[in-house]
């Protein structure tokens, strides 16, 4: 802006702002002050103490002294510097030879794993993995720009992670398609991710979509989900306290809800997710969605209370930013035959029309407030009207297109409601 500016961040993120963000994204050594964490959700009395009584976590000075200094202390030579920075630390293609035990420990020390043992990516193993695709090892799958650093994720680097995760060459096209999403969705809100696979490749590689599909009972579901985490931590450079700042985090990040749809058991008229999104039934497609949680039906459907009613009840607790229902084919059949939902879109439409929550509950969600409340204050619709409405008035937070329906498993009338919004996927066949 051309005037003295000071940035303000909470203690959980301020060191990222003055370190990693400065070096790899921003380039300007902005003077930051660090407030105690948390700031959001605290009463005015706490905010008063932050300003009048507490210290800046960066400088250790009283907070207002640090802010005044930020505006008035003359610039240092480092703050006046313009031009090319020193080169970043080079990453050699090969690591120094060492014993298996030492290398396993090194990978943990570098935070390159999920802290389960990995398969060490020897040259032989990586070469074998690369036979799972026609793509060249040095081809760039994606330039990773978040979090900063403009790292080129090559086919070979993906193969390294695929080996580490325990994958086989026949799984590699799936993992390359998944690599286009690296790093996975991650935020201070303790976000998680969901991987959905559709199309013939499910059968080709023998994914589990017929029973206990979300549990640890299938090699491909396991290694595919795990590889997303390993790619996000290595190529994606996501490390706790350095580039990620969740408090609770998410256990779902171990496997990233890696599932495949049971397309063979869909009721007539219910299209697979990838076909709903415009792909052909013969395409193999991988879709990654972000969300936070899922709620179980806890047991079988009860005849006296059809499943869409309980789904509706549960969905009232979700933010309204997106949702999907993951259900057993038996539930899908019941919804079609007994309740008249002839397509997935029929069910999504009914849920969008019937899920209601209070305005107060809607704005009570931190992500909703972060994304939309400020737009409401600036008069943008429909947020402005929702902000003006009485707190106890009702709102229909979902749009039909924002509710995905996934059918998987087989054998019981159980289901989950989730806040993972299902979007358009990527074609796996492009990565063969």
């Amino acid at each position: 802006m051309g005037i003295p500016t000071v940035g303000a961040a909470a203690a959980n993120i301020v060191h990222y702002a003055i370190g990693y963000d400065f070096e790899y994204t921003n380039g300007m050594p902005i003077r930051y002050v660090g407030f105690p964490f948390p700031v959001a959700g605290q009463p005015k009395s706490v905010h008063h103490s932050y300003v009048f009584e507490r210290e800046d976590v960066v400088s250790g000075k009283p907070m207002m002294q640090a802010i005044v200094d930020g505006f008035t202390k003359p610039l240092t030579e480092k703050e006046k510097f313009q031009g090319r920075p020193p080169e970043a630390v080079a990453e050699p293609r090969l690591l120094e030879p060492d014993t298996e035990d030492n290398l396993q420990q090194l990978f943990k020390d570098k935070d390159w794993t999920d802290y389960n043992p990995i398969i060490l990516p020897t040259e032989e193993r990586v070469a074998a993995m690369l036979k799972g695709t026609s793509r060249k090892p040095d081809e760039v799958v994606k330039k990773i720009t978040w979090p900063g650093g403009a790292r080129n994720l090559t086919v070979e680097k993906v193969a390294v992670c695929a080996v580490m995760a325990g994958a086989k060459p026949q799984h590699f096209p799936l993992i390359l398609a998944l690599a286009t999403y690296v790093p996975f969705g991650n935020s201070t809100s303790s976000m998680a991710n969901m991987i959905l696979v559709n199309g013939p490749i499910r059968n080709e590689v023998k994914m589990n979509y017929k029973g206990n599909v979300m549990g640890p009972h299938n090699e491909v579901n396991s290694v595919l989900g795990r590889s997303f985490t390993l790619m996000s931590k290595t190529a994606g450079n996501l490390h706790a306290g350095k580039t990620t700042f969740s408090s609770l985090g998410s256990n779902l990040q171990y496997n990233n809800l890696c599932i495949a749809e049971n397309e063979e058991a869909l009721p007539a008229g219910w299209d697979p997710v990838h076909v709903q999104m415009g792909a052909k039934p013969t395409d193999s497609v991988l879709t990654v969605s972000t969300g936070w949680s899922y709620i179980s039906s806890v047991g079988e459907v009860q005849r006296g209370y059809p499943p869409q009613f309980l789904m509706r009840d549960y969905m009232r607790s979700l933010s309204g930013m997106g949702a999907s229902v993951i259900m057993d084919p038996a539930v899908a059949g019941l919804l079609k035959d007994s309740q008249g939902f002839n397509t997935k879109a029929d069910l999504a439409k009914w849920l969008a029309e019937n899920v209601e929550k209070t305005i107060a509950s809607f704005w009570g969600n931190g992500v909703v407030s972060t994304m939309w409340a400020s737009m409401a204050l600036q008069g943008l619709e429909p947020h402005a009207s929702r902000m003006k409405a009485p707190p106890d008035s009702m709102i229909k937070p979902f749009q039909p297109r924002g509710i995905g329906v996934i059918v998987t498993g087989g054998g019981q009338t159980t289901w989950f409601v989730t806040d993972f919004g299902v979007g358009r996927g990527v074609k796996i066949d492009d990565w063969r």
Partner: protein, 133 residues
């Protein structure tokens, strides 16, 4: 001649000691234990640093200056707003000649707001922007 032999012998011992010291202690121990060494590929990718931009010159004093406090809306409109009100109260007590303007940025924290940046540049002499986290 004997003196030269002694010198050569000492030099060889020194070189051997230096060569051994070149191995990391643990690696040397493992090697001594006869465990095979493995070569693996590095999963990490080199990050590229961005070009540096200098900061704007600082002010000599805040007396009589207009200072913008900009809420980026992280965590919602109530998350940090009262922090800015407290900062305004501090200025009122301690540097009353400073004019404090509290502004809310357009959209969520990730949206740009060129109109606000223009206003601040035209009317302000300093700005505090936050609070992320």
């Amino acid at each position: 001649m004997r003196r030269n032999q002694l010198f050569t012998c000492c030099l060889a011992l020194i070189m051997a000691a230096v060569a051994t010291a070149g191995l990391a202690p643990v690696q040397a121990q493992q090697k001594a234990a006869g465990k095979p060494l493995i070569t693996v590929l590095n999963p990490a990718i080199e990050s590229k640093m961005v070009d540096r931009e200098p900061l704007s010159p600082r002010l000599d004093t805040l007396e009589g200056k207009t200072i913008y406090l900009v809420d980026i809306n992280w965590g919602g409109p109530e998350a940090a707003y009262s922090v800015f009100e407290e900062i305004q109260a501090w200025f009122k007590q301690n540097i009353p000649s400073a004019k404090i303007v509290i502004k809310r940025k357009y959209g969520s924290y990730s949206n740009d707001d060129p109109a606000l940046w223009k206003e601040i540049k035209q009317n302000g002499q300093a700005a505090l922007i936050g609070i992320s986290g």
